[in-house]
Amino acid sequence: MMNIQSYVRPRSLEEAYALNQNRRSRIIGGMLWLKMGRGTVSTAIDLCDLGLNTIEQSEDEFSIGAMVTLRQLELHPDLNAYTQGALAQSVKDIVGVQFRNLATAGGSIWGRFGFSDVLTQFLAMDTWVELYKGGVLPLEQFARQKPDSDILVRLIVKKTPGVFRYQSMRNQRTDFPVLTCAVSRLDGQYRAVIGARPHRAVIVRDEEGLLSGGISDSSARAFADYAARTVATGSNLRAGADYRTHLVRVLTRRGILELGGTDHGN
């Protein structure tokens, strides 16, 4: 485990930001991934006293503090009503309850991990991130950027009318996913988000209008083929690139067909 020289609970975001400008400082969220690292951290900055552990909502959006745990996301009734359970589905196989009581939404998104179920599902929603200095920007843009010394304060999920489905393929339950796939229809626009490729999750939009005539077996298959052609996959010890591309096709088709249920206006 890494060596931590000092531990601080800042009283304000400004104090946390100032401490984080030292290259050897680290913000600690759930600390589950961070603790696997080596080396020395001069100051571990714990945001636990800044009130960032709540999920609030207005008529238009959910505001999810960076220190909200994955278990809070899993159990939040309104977030899961909005996503038809897709958000809970996306986190339920992440190790165990004890792990999800520690892992934070902020840590999961900030890390932009290739294996992330959380990033995959949030990219399927109309999600924005609020950075302390960088302001509010779309998650899709944030996900492409490299980590810097700013602080992720909260996630903002717009209550854009939508339908969502989440699937992942794992060699064994509670292991890292071999592939993650979230599909959604937001304001009539379809998207498939593919993660654990094993690279960072990416959004596939229906740029060829394959689903513009509605969802059927053939249109779902055509969009799934398009996703499989478009998304670059790679190999690691869990699966090879060819198998992952096969999974992109299968999971995207299944997800889109599920979106097409008669309950959802198709």
Binding site: I28, L32, V97
Partner: protein, 151 residues
Amino acid sequence: MEIKLKLNGRAITGYVEASTLLIDFLRDQGCHSVKRGCETANCGLCTVLMDGTPILSCSVLAARAAGHSIQTLEGLQEEAAEFVGFIADQGADQCGFCNPGFVMNTIALLRENPDPTDDEIRAYLAGNLCRCSGYDGQLRGIRGFLDSRKK
């Protein structure tokens, strides 16, 4: 650094390094039910309750526990005694090394959901690994305890 917390209902003051993990602090306090297993946050052996919520003490800095209430199996013997006999009756205690973590997480489960289905039990305990058994013994034991409460 100095930390103050409540351990098994008793207010204590401890002195820790910034890097000290909660598991090491608790074992230094004599709570040897808290076991070190995988050290990758996967096995559940080190489960304790922080403010009533099950967490992995191998992945939390002791400093973060300051100001909180921590419970280990040493402080929950009475609550555990209600159901551990049912697990033992199934031979599911086996080598015993994973038992404290299983028992702690089962306590958390039954507080949160007093009448879980088998699928809910499996899902809640998915983060507790046992290298001896096939998990069915633990499930039968908990099911036996729940059924006995209904009689």
